[in-house]
Structures are given as C-alpha cells and as structure tokens.
Symmetry: C2
Amino acid sequence: MSLKIPSDTVSETPGSASAHKNVTTILKQLESDGIIGISVDCVIFGFDDNELKVLLIKSDMERYDNKWSLLGDLVNNHEDLDQAAYRILKERTGLDDVYLEQVKGFGAVGRHPAARVVTIAYCSLINIEHHKLKILDNELHWHRVTTLSEMAFDHRQILDVCYEWLQKRIQEHPLGFSLLPKQFSLRELQNLYEAILDVKLDRRNFRKKFFSMGLLEDTGELESDVPHRPGKLYKFNYDKYQKKERKKWFGIDF
Amino acid sequence: MSLKIPSDTVSETPGSASAHKNVTTILKQLESDGIIGISVDCVIFGFDDNELKVLLIKSDMERYDNKWSLLGDLVNNHEDLDQAAYRILKERTGLDDVYLEQVKGFGAVGRHPAARVVTIAYCSLINIEHHKLKILDNELHWHRVTTLSEMAFDHRQILDVCYEWLQKRIQEHPLGFSLLPKQFSLRELQNLYEAILDVKLDRRNFRKKFFSMGLLEDTGELESDVPHRPGKLYKFNYDKYQKKERKKWFGIDF
DNA sequence: GCAAAAGTGTTGGAAATACACCCATGT
DNA sequence: ACATGGGTGTATTTCCAACACTTTTGC
C-alpha cells in the first residue's frame, strides 16, 4: 500500500512521485498517538491476452521494497470512502468513470508494520486497451492474477478475497463487460468468463444463455484483423438491464 | 451507535452503563484533531413469533435521544475488527459463540454528527430463546424488522443493507439455523425462510429441497406442546456441510 | 369427531447439458 | 485447398412448480 499526506484537495499533479512521500512519518505519528489509520486499497482488474490481470505498484516502504502492492492511500478527512477509492484510481492511473465496488474491510492488528491501519478494499474493473495507462510511477503495471510474486503486507490475502468476490459477482451481475471493449465478440465474452472462473464452457450453450437474456445488442459490425471468419460484434444494453426487475428469490442451495 | 472509551482490556463489567459514557468527549477530541474514528456496528438478528427481529438500544447521545441505534463501539487499538465485533456483542448482550460476519463499511462524511467516524457493519444471528438477554442497559430489546421506528445516524441504511445481505446470504449459506433452536421442525425452518424472504413457499417442495441436500439429521424426537400432530425434530449437520466441496460454478444469471 | 398441521408422490414444463455439422474468412 | 474459429439445432436429462389426500395428535 502506498500512502500519502492526507489533504482535502485532490492533488493537482496526480500520480507525481512527490505526492506519495512522507508516508513513514505520518504512520509513525499515528502509531505514537495510538490512533488507528484508515485507508482504501484498490484491486484493479483488467483482461488482456485472455488472462485476468491486476494492477500493482512497487511499495513505497523500504521494508517492503521489491514487493508488489495494491493501489492504496489514507482516506482524507472530508471525503467518503467511495470518493477516496475514485481519487486513488484517478491519481495513480489517470482513469475515471470506471466500475468500482467495495468488497471488504481488513483490520487485523499487525497487518501494517508501521502503524495500526484499517483498510477498505475496493474492486475496480477496467478495459486495458481502452484505458491506456498514462501514469507509470512506482513501476505501475499489469500482473497475471494466476502467477503472482510475493506481495507486500496482507495484500495477497486482500487480492485473494477480491478475486473470489469477482468469481461470484460476475455470475450474478454484468460487471464483466467493463473488462471488454464497448463492442465485443461472443468469443471474447466467453474467454473472459472461462478465464475468471477457470472453467471450460460449451460454446453453443454459452451463446444460448446470453442471447436468451436479451441484453446483447447486435451492432451490425464484425471483427476485423482475425485470421478466420470474423464474428459479430455486440454491445451490452445496460439500460435494458437496469429496467429488468430483480428477482429476490434465487432458490436455496448450499 | 453507542461509543465508549477505547481501552485494550475488555471491560470487567460488561454492559454496565458506566463503560459507555464520555462518548461525546472522545469524539470531540477526534474531530478537533482532524482524525477519523473507526467503529464497529453489529446488526443482530433474531427470530421469534415467526418474525425477524433486530436487537437495538437507545442511543447514548442527546441529540439522538429516543431514536434506536445498533450496537456499536469504537475499535480498540489492539484488537482486530472481528474481535471488536465479538467484544461489543459480549459487552452488550452477554452472548458469545455466535454467528458473526462482516457485511460492509460505511464512511460517508456526515454520517456521524459529532465527528468523522467510519464504521464497519457486522451481522450476527442468534437464537432468541436459547440466548436469553442478561443485560438490558439502554433499553436493549428486540424490534420487528418490518415495522421500524426512526433510527439514529445512518443506522437505518446500515440495517437495510444488512437485511438485504441476509436475504441473499441465507439462500446460499446455512446461516439461518443459527436463528433456530438446535432442534427444530421443518415447519419452523420454512417459517424462517418465508419471513426473511417475504415469500410463500410450497411445503412439499421445501421439504424435498432440504432433504435432498442431505444435511438434516432426524433426532428421533418430536415436537411437544403443540395443539396438533407433532412434527419430527431435526438438527443441521454442520460437519457434513463443511465437507461438501463448494461448487464455484452457479450459472450465469442476471 | 373435529380442528390443525404433519407427512407424502406424481406430473408437466422449463432450463441445463451434451453433442456435430456446415459456413465464412485469411492465408 | 486448408486451417481456424463462427454460427446453428436437437435430444436428453435434470430441476423446479404445481397440486390433494391421508395421518396423527390435542381438544
């Protein structure tokens, strides 16, 4: 987790290295005062090369040098938790208007070496191609979720929880489309689900399922630059999804 | 939310009124120092008279007099979030060894009038008959979830989120049994599901469903003191449930 | 014997699964 | 022409939903 000085104004130089120093000082102060710090950590998923990726940086803290870290920061005094998460995303990646949802709070006593810090984990899903990263401080880049090197603090645990959350959530909510381009082929969609859930699905049944939901809109366009017959491109009709009434009864099963 | 002086030792006089004073003082201090406080609020559900109930107290704070409040407290410096939740339950109700799960963090800037406090909501489910309340400070008692009077702070929102969480969770995890006696009839179980989900279910299909899961154990005993044919009493086989391998694939549906 | 809830099976429809061939494109 | 994935339909099975009568007990 990277921490910076809490302030009420969003930095004018988002992502600049200078905004992320003095971390240790602040934490030492918190610790000596016996105060619990509160931070937000963002688990940002992307999908590329048919693999689920996560966005990590190199930790600012010496002791955790060469370990990878989620994108985090202390929560400012006058911002909501959600706002803090959006701010961190914006500062670190330059990205805005993305899917973001709170997943869980982590507050084990020893989870941060410098001070007592409770963190709220957020999940974000972005399309890697569409949102090219503009800020690359702290070696920000994408990592495969399946083959992760050692991570700082308890960030591995946080990531694991968020990944499991994603596996469950993607089956009951159409958040996966955030990982794809606005227009996508059914093959891409299926690859996404297969990669995240680590299963093989039947192509025909997968199509039937999604078409029967009636939420995919044929754009009339086709794939290009593929060395085979191009597939149709669809987009997800979010309005129509919103209007569907949610069923609160799913069926008991455990 | 009721707050008390953070300390590293669990109070020796759990639930005593004296442990819950000086709240305003602490919060004023936090506020003047520009520090974000962190608390835990417990939403404790019970089931009685075929209705879902929630355990509330009268708020300590003047401004919120006569409004009902969840059971909460500031998190101590040297306790995990989960520990804090268990401590609050123990202090306020004398109860231990109960189901408890984190639901969501709430951190809107203005949610608490005295200071900036981020709270982590926990859900707990207890059997009202089995765990008779020993501590009744602050007018602690059970309220119907469906007909709630005005609540303090944002506690109504927290309760709503937790209730929706419960409706979803009870269908995919056997936590509902915590609300029933160790031995229960199928009628009681069905009443529980019908009350929480606010649906009517077919009795035969309900039985079929639960028996087919193979997790109910016939105790050989029967209901007593019922003015009709007594039903068989079952208990939930939690060991067997634990051994079942979880399926990560539920089927896409949204 | 009557009221009240326990206990029990079958059937039809819907949804999930399994499975194989022809089509369009780039090379 | 061939390699690659796109696109499609059907048969089977499984699961869910609807539905009614007999049994046991307390009063």
